[in-house]
Amino acid sequence: MMILQVQDVTKRFGGLQALTDVTFDLPAGQILGLIGPNGAGKTTLFNVINGVYAPNKGQIIFRGDDITGMPSYEVARRGMARAHQVVRPLHDLTVRENVMVGACFGREGHSLASAVQKADAALAQVGLSGRADQPSGLLNVAQKKRLELARALAARPYLLLLDEVLAGLNPTEITEMVDTILKIRDEGITILMIEHVMQAVMSISDRIIVLDYGQLIATGKPEEVAANPQVIEAYLGDPEMTARLMAE
């Protein structure tokens, strides 16, 4: 079953063509990696998928329903959660209260009392249980990334959008986070992730799609994508030059 179908999505900001006819499908239970150079339109694509922006053209089908143009809170309630690239904890609230927002307003729409339990479960899942009562402003970067993930998980989503959750982490923290992401996948949550840490995204993705200047230039298994000349060109420039450099 396809959990997400993106069809001919085009998004313009004034004269800037951010996305051009992007089309791909995401089968349930997989991890799909979304890569591309800076400015390729990856975060814009996330924003169009979860309703922050409406596309100028094209359709987003989520679990069989057309969600194109729906506001982001409606998309969230239908079971799509997102962890942001720039972490945005609610500073004045404790870590637990932050995660409760996800549980209260996500797919299952919990009351405050039951949201406490869901929040604690999500915090345990990402390894932040010990910090539940701290103000969220006191967390370090790696912990804030985990908090962002816990908030998304507490919503009990069908599909999780991860926007560079590995960026800014050290190698040990990356290994831990990759384990956490794989466990989330094993629980049956489908994942679409933007990532710049190539080694990690290549190793955990079932499939990869590549955006460049707002267009999908490649799609396939990680090893296929890595060998694709267009992808290499997008990242490194001239492929022949790259091949020469690699040979040297």
């Binding site: 979860n50 922050v52 506001p71 982001s72 809170y73 969230a76 309630r77 959660a81 997102r82 942001h84 945005r88 904890p89 609610l90 500073h91 004045d92 609230l93 209260e97 409760m100 927002v101 996800g102 209260c104 307003f105 996500g106 797919r107 729409g109 009351s111 405050l112 009392a113 949201a115 406490v116 908030r151 919503a155």
Partner: protein, 322 residues
């Protein structure tokens, strides 16, 4: 986490309950008048805080709801012969309806744009009422003295009005606490910290903000009716005073925005200071300048306000000082 077991729930209610109770027992007119003013600003500042403190939307022209609600309630009493209680509730309801209609338009704006729009609404309301025949135009309305007869004469009517204000203040504080500690309030606080992120987490921000705006407009409408009924007349210059809006903001900031106790503390402290400044020979014409200076200093040095500052320093008191 039953709220009625929390000391933070009882503290503001107990303080206001005792204060009003003592005034009713003492039965002295001067104490009643002073308390009326302080409690009125407590309730106004707390109403504003429900919007400002919990959602982070700065309403600069919030006094418009005091003015419009007050005018409506006063009109119903003096021209239609309504009793005080239903007239005050109708004043509140009208303010709520106006907030609903206005909110649908201006709550799309954020930050400074929203604040500017609310000032515009206040000035527009003043201009409208000044030219609106049934509300007496620029000269306003006067209450017929016989209206006080129903309450046992003018003297007794003042006590009735005070009692109504006292109960209204308790209700505002109760609502403020319940909003803050509800699922709805958690959504509002998420909006305050980051509205876009809140929506991505599923918070229906447009609806939540509109409901909050209506709640925070409803109580000023009631309080306006009580205030003008007590004064015996209402005119545009008294009903839509922009400086009262700014004083409300100063009180909320001084006590601590986003706390239940803060607006109470801020209103009491500010009224105390204002009383001193108005009677002092040096400052008597400068009290608004001093208010502006206080606002500036708070925003620069103690943005959390008095209650917020204590909460930050003494985490043990967090459950008491909500």
């Amino acid at each position: 986490m039953k709220f009625w077991r929390q000391p933070g729930f009882w503290l503001p209610l107990a303080l206001v309950f005792l204060w009003g109770g003592i005034v009713l027992v003492l039965k002295q007119d001067t104490i009643r008048e002073t308390t009326f003013t302080v409690m009125m600003f407590m309730a106004l500042a707390s109403s504003l805080n429900i919007l400002l403190g919990y959602t982070g939307y700065v309403s600069f022209g919030h006094i418009v709801f005091f003015g419009l609600g007050g005018y409506t309630g006063f009109f119903l009493i003096s021209e239609m012969g309504w009793p005080l209680y239903p007239a005050a509730l109708a004043g509140g309801a009208l303010s709520g309806v106006i907030a609903l209609l206005v909110g649908l338009a201006v709550l799309r704006l954020r930050g400074a744009y929203f604040a500017l729009a609310t000032i515009g609404i206040n000035e527009a309301a003043r201009a409208f009422v000044s030219n609106f025949g049934p509300f007496g135009g620029a000269t306003g309305l006067f209450v017929n003295f016989s209206a006080y007869e129903k309450y046992g004469g003018a003297g007794q009517a003042l006590w009735t009005t005070f009692t109504f204000l006292w109960i209204t203040t308790l209700v505002v504080l109760l609502v403020s606490y319940l909003v803050k500690h509800s699922r709805f309030g958690l959504g509002l606080q998420a909006i305050r910290e980051d509205e876009d992120a809140a929506m991505v987490m599923g918070v229906q921000a447009p609806r939540a903000k509109t409901i909050t705006y209506v709640i925070s407009a409803f109580f000023p409408g009631i309080i306006g009716t009580l205030y003008f009924f007590k004064n015996g007349n209402v005119e545009p210059g008294d009903a839509f005073q922009l400086h009262m809006s700014i004083e409300m903001l100063v009180m909320v900031m001084l006590g601590g925005m986003g706390t239940v106790l803060g607006p109470m503390v801020g209103a009491t402290a500010y009224q105390g200071l204002r009383g001193y400044l108005l009677t002092s020979p040096i400052f008597k014409d400068l009290h608004l300048a001093v208010a502006g200076l206080i606002l500036l200093l708070i925003i620069l040095f103690v943005p959390a306000g008095a209650v917020g500052w204590v909460r930050g320093r003494l985490p043990a008191l967090r459950r008491v000082l909500e």
